[in-house]
Symmetry: C2
């Protein structure tokens, strides 16, 4: 498999088919794991890093019957390919930017990936469309168990899984749900959400695209504590809280429709119009407008759209994707033109003749 | 004929078929005439005004073989219908707003109209698409002569035609050309045009739509002097000058395309996108965006458009037209919604499937 192929597909989790996917983009769990016989990543020398990589690659081979992993040596990739994997959410920005022997294994559907020699020896990740943490947990638990058949994880009877950074000790789990909350943003209610969640030890952070530009009203909600609670308890905590935020966003959307339907319709429809016709457009404006049409589509204010197309455009209009699609390095102005071209093409492709916007 | 029918048609001069109609919307001539046996309008009493109207209506009947006039008594029309005729450029705002017996006769193609009891007893007007003053002159001269067969015009051997206001004495002629000059506006060159034209006694004024909002980059160029020159000399003066302004605008457009094609393409394409998708839009924004797409179409940057559609939209999206089309009185917010609906409908009607913007 060549990385170039990624530009023609998208992760299964982007299809928008999961529960509550009008508001919850994806549910994700990652586990931090280390091999008992090696020093932690920050202490391992180049030779040890290499040994870790070789060992893990052998295990990935052994799992082939259940997960058909493709492995990429991140050290050998050029910057563009590394950035592509970051945009794809298959690797962290930290793995892309660090040095030394490191890599990533993932399956073609992109619902499972394993980073090698990130902060920990293994960072196992599973992701699904919509609000479906149970499904994600089952899949990642199965993979974690399967790997553990072949390796000794660093584990302490009292503390649990040991990790390079103490904040991950215990379960080594991070459970996160990516939510699209445009109506709470418009109605200035995100502060309330931030405060409520921090009281119960959940973190909320904006999702950022190119540079530090906020990616149109997306927020990631995740656990902060990994110690003293079981994985199931941490997941249940999110499962209890997220539906309240979903309700909260739905109410805000309904209120907007009720109180200013025309303005809202105008806003989302114009966003669609601009995305379909611009000939140069920045990443920031794109994210902002895509966020608008995503909400508009989910409120039934726009037709001539498909939710997976909108979801994919958030990823495919990012810099590395555009450059891989074009097949050449592009400066910022060239990317803005290429992005506009890409948007026109893909938004007009789903258009029905004579649909009213 | 009912005035309502006007909302379903448009004047022939809007078809964009005349010479240089990428830049010259229309050529127009009006003649101020008075009947010798009556006092000027500002001195005539109600009874005399009525006599003038009756006489002229009889003459319009006599001309039926050559011009099939429809006569409307403006005093009896409601405000909306008066405003409709103003938007249509069939009567002046002054005739609409004044008091007393007054009216207008026009032919169905709207290339000929005669106001009765405006400032002068007769204001005869002829208009054609594009830069075609010769054609307009021939038509209006024919009509003027035909009317003169039936009436005695107020005429003085030394001064020429006598008019209510001394500024029109002599030929009583106003020759004007309405031009679309967006590139000269963008490149800040209109000041130069103003100065050059005022030196040779030509007036330039912006064209205004609803209230005092400028109607997207349209300018009317006309003679200021009516005395001491023949009609032919006045027309020849315009005929000599206007081609220079056309060239000047064409050069500015070409320079824009050459130096910033992408920005220009982006601007006109987004304008098209917004007009096709907005759900509420002001008159001012509409005029501004229509001006953009008119230039874009003429520069070959936009397809999926027809020039007569664009020209008509400038007129049909004005307040009285929208209210007549809707069949009810609308406040400003309702008009903005109705305008957006009208634009979506008419701009999507000309769209070809899969055209790239």
């Amino acid at each position: 498999m060549r990385l170039q192929e990624l530009t023609k597909t998208s992760g299964e989790w982007l299809r928008g088919t999961g529960p509550d996917s009008d508001i919850v983009i994806s549910s994700r769990i990652r586990l931090a794991r280390n091999l008992a016989q090696f020093p932690f990543g920050n202490r391992a020398d180049k030779h040890e890093q290499q040994e870790i990589e070789e060992l893990l690659c052998q295990y990935f081979q052994k799992l082939k019957g259940k997960w058909k992993f493709h492995y990429f040596n991140v050290e050998e990739l050029d910057n563009l390919d590394r950035q592509l994997l970051v945009e794809r959410q298959l690797i962290s920005r930290e793995l892309a930017d660090s040095e030394g022997v490191r890599g990533v294994a993932f399956v073609r559907k992109e619902n499972i990936s394993v980073m090698v020699n990130e902060e920990d020896h293994l960072r196992i990740q599973a992701i699904q469309s919509g609000f479906s943490l149970e499904k994600v947990w089952k899949e990642i638990e199965r993979l974690d168990d399967a790997i553990e058949e072949h390796v000794d994880y660093a584990f302490h009877q009292n503390f649990g899984y040991l990790t390079a950074c103490p904040t991950n000790v215990g379960t080594g789990i991070r459970v996160s749900v990516m939510m699209h909350l445009p109506a709470l943003v418009i109605t200035n209610q995100m502060e309330k959400v931030f405060r409520a969640l921090s009281k119960i030890n959940l973190a909320v952070r904006g999702v950022y695209g190119e540079g530090s530009q906020p990616m149109g009203d997306f927020y990631q909600i995740s656990n902060q504590l990994t110690l003293g609670k079981s994985e199931q308890e941490i997941i249940r905590n999110l499962q209890a809280v997220v539906p309240n935020i979903i309700d909260y966003e739905r109410q805000a959307r309904e209120a907007l429709v009720k109180e200013s339907r025309q303005e809202l319709h105008d806003k989302v429809s114009r966003a669609h119009g601009i995305l379909k016709t611009a000939h140069t457009i920045s990443s920031e404006e794109t994210m902002h407008l895509l966020s608008s049409i995503r909400m508009g589509f989910n409120l039934g204010l726009l037709d001539d759209l498909e939710i997976n197309t909108i979801n994919e455009l958030f990823i495919h209009t990012q810099p590395a994707h555009l450059q891989k699609i074009r097949g050449s390095s592009l400066d910022s102005a060239e990317r803005n033109a290429e992005r506009a071209k890409f948007l026109r093409k893909h938004l007009r492709a789903v258009e029905k003749p004579n649909g009213d916007h």
